[in-house]
Amino acid sequence: MNNSVAKEKIVSLRKKRSLEDMRFKYYGFTAMCLSLAVLVFLLYTIFSKGYTAFQKTIVLLEVDYNQEVLKLTPDSSDEEMEKGKFFRVKKQAIENFFPDLSKSDIKLIKKLFSINLDNEIKDYFLENPEVINTKQQIWVTAHSDVDQLLKGNSRRDVPEDRRKLNDIQLSYVDQLVEENRVKQVFNNFFFTKADSRHPEIAGVAGSFMGSLFTLFTVFILSFPIAIGASVYLEEFAPKNRITELIEVNISNLAAVPSIVFGLLGLGVLLNVFGLPRSTPLVGGSVLALMTLPTIIIACRASLKAVPPSIKEGALAVGATKTQAVFHHVVPLALPGTLTGTIIGLAQALGETAPLIMIGMIAFIPNIPTGLTEPSAALPVQIYLWVESAERGFQEKSAAAIMVILIFLFMMNAIAVFLRNRFERKW
């Protein structure tokens, strides 16, 4: 009797305990899935907000390249053509965009086109000078407001005063759609132009080049210094207080917030040394100092992985210590150090705050061509676009994030490739 009660108790307790075990396991499983679900949701958000930025809306416009309006003749030189009165041609084209337009309508229609309209009309002419005195149907970029409306990013059912386009403009856009005079094409501007105040002609080319120049600076500075430092600490450094101080220093620097490195750049590089503001040179130097601990730690790990027998073999046949290290240990550790450097560069690529501190947040509408020219950087460009009130910039920021993520992915793929291709197991 007693026995069976006790048995029942034990059985029920065991059931409870194994249930508890199951539950605990599922807590862990759920936590893991939740973390991964956030990752998926994050990527989904970026993709769904950003993919539209790779397309732009263009409008068919009839342009009359009349020689009297242009103040050109068929045999004008190239220089004269540059100075042709294209704004007058544009004005005429807009006035004749729809039949019988009133003055106020023309003003409204003008806002359906991008700010770049003059240039597009001019460029078409410069490429095809033979079109003088003919009427041409050319596709020109639409204004961002039209673009956003047709992509469905801005809604048309809100009251008129909260919309960018008023009712008359909407009806014109609808008419264009009906007459097949608008279409969506690949947005080449996004990849060929720098930042702009106007979303329809803003692109990532400028900030991409800025990021490349910055990364180049980071690489040039941090790779040799990191190799030197890790070779010294791993192979030569005597065990004393100074060495210990350096090691503590490096591990603590790795945990200093990036914004503090920005303050360092501002306080020392800009204010004391007077280096030019907003340039990849300064940005790269700051990021190099910031990523140095990461790279040093990776380099030391790969130096450590080279078996001591290699160095000892070299020493045994009469090499000096320097020869043994530089002729035998370092070449074997090189793939590992390169991998570590690329991972450090990937970290530097995404870093925003230090670049803001040293002024790479300035509005730079042209593509930089050198290390000492003011330029933007991809992550800062994203920040500027996220903060921008203009609707059209939101999709741009998501698309720029896609660009930076692909860039990061490629860097990591190279690192993994290097590791798998060259890493030796001893």
Partner: protein
């Protein structure tokens, strides 16, 4: 210019190498003795004496050239009496005119003169630059070539030089720390000369405005940083509430329950989460999480602002999940297997083993991981800049707008930076606080983890 000068230096060091090699061979032949080291070491010796002086010239030119030219141009500029000048704008204008002569139309005579002076100075500077690089390299080679005798131990000298270079490389980390500490302290002292340190640390009013006119009383700024510290703390607490349970449970699952295959898939995915730039999280917080939080707040009757501590904190929590999970994973894995086996041996199941044996054993390491995560959360910038707002509210309500130390640093330094007012300098004082706190947390955490490691090794 800088590209061609690099080419020049490359040609210089290449020829110095060749020169050193052939010269030592010649010398030893002349004396009929073998040189003490291989010819290449003599060549390297000459090379170093060419390269390093040239690099010093190169970098000093790169750093100081523009500064010096600008100072000369400005000091020679014929200022018109009574007209107001902004030096930066003026310089930009002069540079523009100098770079494209087509901009000269309609500019004043003074500017055109200054521009022509600017471009001629630049030309002089370039010529001087190339000349001085060539001269310094020749001088270096000359100095080195006097030592190119067979009895000279070139290899020893070279190895000593290499040691110096390596020591210099490793001390860069120390220079960086010194640079950080000095720049923060120096500018902070200027800040505390105008604002008392007690007001900064204990007062609750943060209005970083500065009087625009002399004697204007209405806009007297006040710099009490308590609301900022409170906001930072609030965001950090929200982040840890998200990251601590999720990160720790993930780590436990991966370390104790998951199969090898699951680990192999999940760990790289978590690394992706860790590798995503913080501005991307900021975008995510701004576009997806903040509107959700606002809607959620309204549905339960709380008036949530579009940017809130909750939105920023939650996303920041997601950001540090991989950080906590990978650190905790390491810690849990380093708990000796014998402890687990002992626990299983007396009949405990997995959950009981984890809760009663492994976690208590791993506790110091986990605490260390949490401390490191907290220091990450405090120093994180872009998420809070985009999603937490800038209003210094002293509040415990996570649905409200709060501001953090990092946000205020960014706000103070965006736009015009005049280093003579407390508003700009406050960034450095805040940076100093941030640096001290994160350093402190980091040292404690590293100590704890180190002790913990020692216990089980």
């Amino acid at each position: 210019m800088f590209f061609w000068s690099l080419v020049l230096i490359a040609v210089g060091i290449f020829s110095s190498f060749i020169y050193g090699r052939s010269r030592i061979k010649l010398n030893s032949k002349k004396q009929g003795t073998k040189s003490k080291s291989l010819p290449n070491y003599y060549a390297q010796y000459v090379l170093m004496w060419c390269l390093f002086p040239a690099l010093i010239v190169y970098f000093s030119w790169a750093i100081f050239q523009e500064q010096i030219i600008q100072n000369i141009v400005i000091s020679n500029f014929e200022f018109i009496e009574g007209a107001a000048y902004n030096e930066g704008l003026l310089l930009a204008e002069i540079r523009n005119v100098a770079n494209n002569p087509s901009f000269a139309d309609g500019k004043s005579v003074e500017i055109i003169n200054a521009a022509s002076q600017y471009s001629s100075l630049r030309q002089i500077s370039q010529i001087a630059f190339y000349l001085s690089i060539i001269i310094i390299m020749l001088l270096g080679a000359l100095y080195a070539s006097r030592k190119l005798k067979p009895e000279f131990h070139a290899q020893h000298t070279i190895e000593r030089y290499i040691q110096y270079i390596l020591i210099f490389c490793s001390s860069v980390a120390i220079f960086t720390t010194i640079g950080i500490v000095f720049s923060l302290i120096f500018e902070s002292l200027r800040f505390f000369a105008e604002v008392s340190i007690f007001e900064f640390l204990f007062s609750t009013e943060w209005y970083p405005f500065i009087p625009i006119r002399e004697g204007q009383t209405a806009a007297e700024g006040s710099f009490g940083a308590v609301p900022i510290f409170a906001g930072t703390f609030l965001v950090m607490v929200v982040a840890m509430c998200v990251a601590a349970p999720l990160g720790l449970l993930t780590a436990i699952y991966l370390a104790e329950y998951a199969s090898q295959r699951v680990r192999k898939i999940v760990k790289p995915l978590l690394e992706i989460l860790a590798g995503i730039p913080t501005i991307v999280y900021g975008f995510f917080a701004f576009v997806s999480v903040a509107p959700f939080v606002k809607a959620f707040g309204q549905s339960i009757g709380i008036d949530a602002s579009p940017t809130s501590a909750l939105a920023a904190g939650m996303v920041m929590g997601v950001m540090i999940i991989p950080f906590i999970s990978s650190l905790s994973d390491d810690v849990i894995n380093s708990v000796p297997q014998s402890l687990r086996e002992g626990s299983f041996g007396i009949g405990a199941n997995k959950a009981e083993t984890i809760k009663k044996v492994i976690l208590p054993a791993a506790l110091p390491g986990i605490v260390g991981a949490f401390l490191l995560a907290i220091s990450r959360a405090i120093g994180e910038t872009m998420i809070v800049v985009v999603a937490a707002g800038t209003a210094p509210n002293l509040t415990g309500n996570p649905f409200e707008n709060v501001t953090t130390v990092t946000v205020q640093i960014v706000v103070a330094l965006i736009g015009d930076q005049e280093f003579d007012n407390p508003r700009t300098l406050s960034a450095f004082a805040l940076g100093l606080v941030l640096f001290v706190i994160t350093l402190f947390l980091n040292i404690i955490a590293l100590q704890i983890v180190k002790r913990y490691r020692e216990r089980y090794e």
